[in-house]
């Protein structure tokens, strides 16, 4: 028998790989047409808001087609929201796996966030392809800027997920509050109305929301004629991400024993 003791890094890599494949199978085939629901949510949101704009004859998205304006905002917002909320529940959903000492709570959270980011990217590509078939220009004006903002939105979701997963284990009510809080965030992340039309001082208040920074910069990178308000700053989003990821990891280090112990 070869008594090879694997290094901690190789164990972690093996666990991440195994968890990712397992989560992907479960997410895409766990329920009937589970993959369809991934697309159905963002598409229905875009359809509803566009329809509303059409009926109300609103033409308030300078520099961008209303449909594309809504789609880019929603894809960015859903990236943060889905990553945060799905990875928040990772520990509870995988508690059976802590029977294997190789699997740590933080592994399940990180892997879920990665899977959610990956799926968000695929959903975005499918929706943009759909828009291309309908005759819209879908190639971003500044592709790198769009990707940077998109990545920042994902990292913010990861940070929130890391924190909420631990807090939700220790105080289960907080998880419900977090879910509720994403509803008002939907309305103050500039998804429906350009933040340019929000008057002072409300606009300054809205920019306390890091998601709005990401969404705004992402649109600026997407549409050549879109006017980005000067308050929008990617460093706010990335600063927020950095702090939450560090805080989340610290919480995991501090409470990992308590979460596994019964």
């Amino acid at each position: 028998m070869t008594a090879v003791i694997r290094s901690p890094l190789s164990v972690t890599y093996a666990v991440w790989r195994a968890l990712f494949l397992r989560e992907a199978v479960f997410r895409l085939s766990g329920r009937r047409v589970a993959w369809l629901w991934l697309l159905a949510e963002p598409i229905s949101h875009v359809a509803f808001i566009t329809l509303f704009f059409e009926i109300a004859r609103v033409r308030v998205t300078p520099g961008a087609d209303p449909g594309m304006f809504i789609m880019t905002g929603l894809l960015g917002f859903f990236m943060t929201r889905n990553t945060a909320l799905r990875s928040m529940e990772a520990i509870k959903a995988n508690s059976a796996l802590f029977a294997y000492r190789q699997v740590k709570p933080v592994d399940t959270v990180i892997v879920r966030a990665a899977l959610e980011g990956f799926l968000g990217l695929i959903v975005a590509l499918i929706m943009l392809s759909g828009a291309a078939l309908a005759g819209f220009t879908i190639v971003p004006y500044h592709p790198l800027e769009v990707l940077t903002a998109f990545t920042g939105l994902w990292t913010a979701g990861l940070g929130l997920g890391l924190i909420l997963s631990v807090v939700g284990e220790l105080l289960p009510d907080i998880a419900n509050v977090a879910k509720l809080l994403f509803v008002p965030l939907y309305f103050v992340s500039g998804l429906m109305i350009p933040v340019e039309f929000v008057p002072h001082p409300y606009r300054e208040w809205m920019f306390y929301n890091p998601i709005l920074h990401g969404v705004e910069i992402m649109r600026g990178g997407f549409f050549p004629l879109y006017h980005v308000v000067p308050e929008a700053d990617l460093s706010v989003l990335y600063g927020f991400s950095l702090i939450t990821v560090f805080l989340g990891l610290a919480l995991h280090v501090r409470y990992a024993r308590k979460i596994i112990a019964q």
């Binding site: 666990v15 195994a18 968890l19 494949l21 397992r22 294997y100 000492r101 190789q102």
Partner: protein
Amino acid sequence: MIVVNDVYKRYRTDHGPGKWVLQGINLRIPPKINVGLVGRNGAGKSTLLRLIGGNDTPTRGTVERRCRVSWPMGFAGGLQGSLTGRQNARFICRIHGHESDMAERIAQIEDFCEIGDAFDEPVKTYSSGMRSRLQFGMSLAFDFDVYISDEVTSTGDAAFRDKALAAFRKLTDRAGLIMVSHAENTLTQFCKAGILLHDGQAHWFDDIGDTLKAYKTTLAAS
């Protein structure tokens, strides 16, 4: 070699920390030796096994594993109901670093547990007997230096029990074993040394016969 260093354990309950289950356990379990773990119900046998297997963490103290230790065989967790037996087995292979020879190991598991087409059905449709077959098959598929087993030989129907016992015997020839059982003949058959858990303390005996004798005295005393 497994070193249990001054381990204390108590569980969290809904109203604060519970009673101490283990109080200052010190053990050095040498490799390649079969050890029986005895004690009355609630003495902390399963708790100690879970701590050795790394499924749970001690409240105080440390457990060092200087070899490959299995997860507790016959342990009820570790299977996800919505995934099939094969998917669960694959997951176990992957986290144990057997990506390259996964096919053989899966075949070995499938062959051992003899649950037929159910291997490709979700685990939540399994009966408890089928579950324990799968779990037992999975734990045999890897080359651990020490196996830990919690009443595993008492599961399944007569045919499977014989098969499990035979597999167990073969396994104890090449690797160490730490087992919990209430069946005296199983213990004397498999184990050389013994550990008696009593009042939160562990007592090591080089001979399983002495362990059982001491165990009976503790039972009589209370």
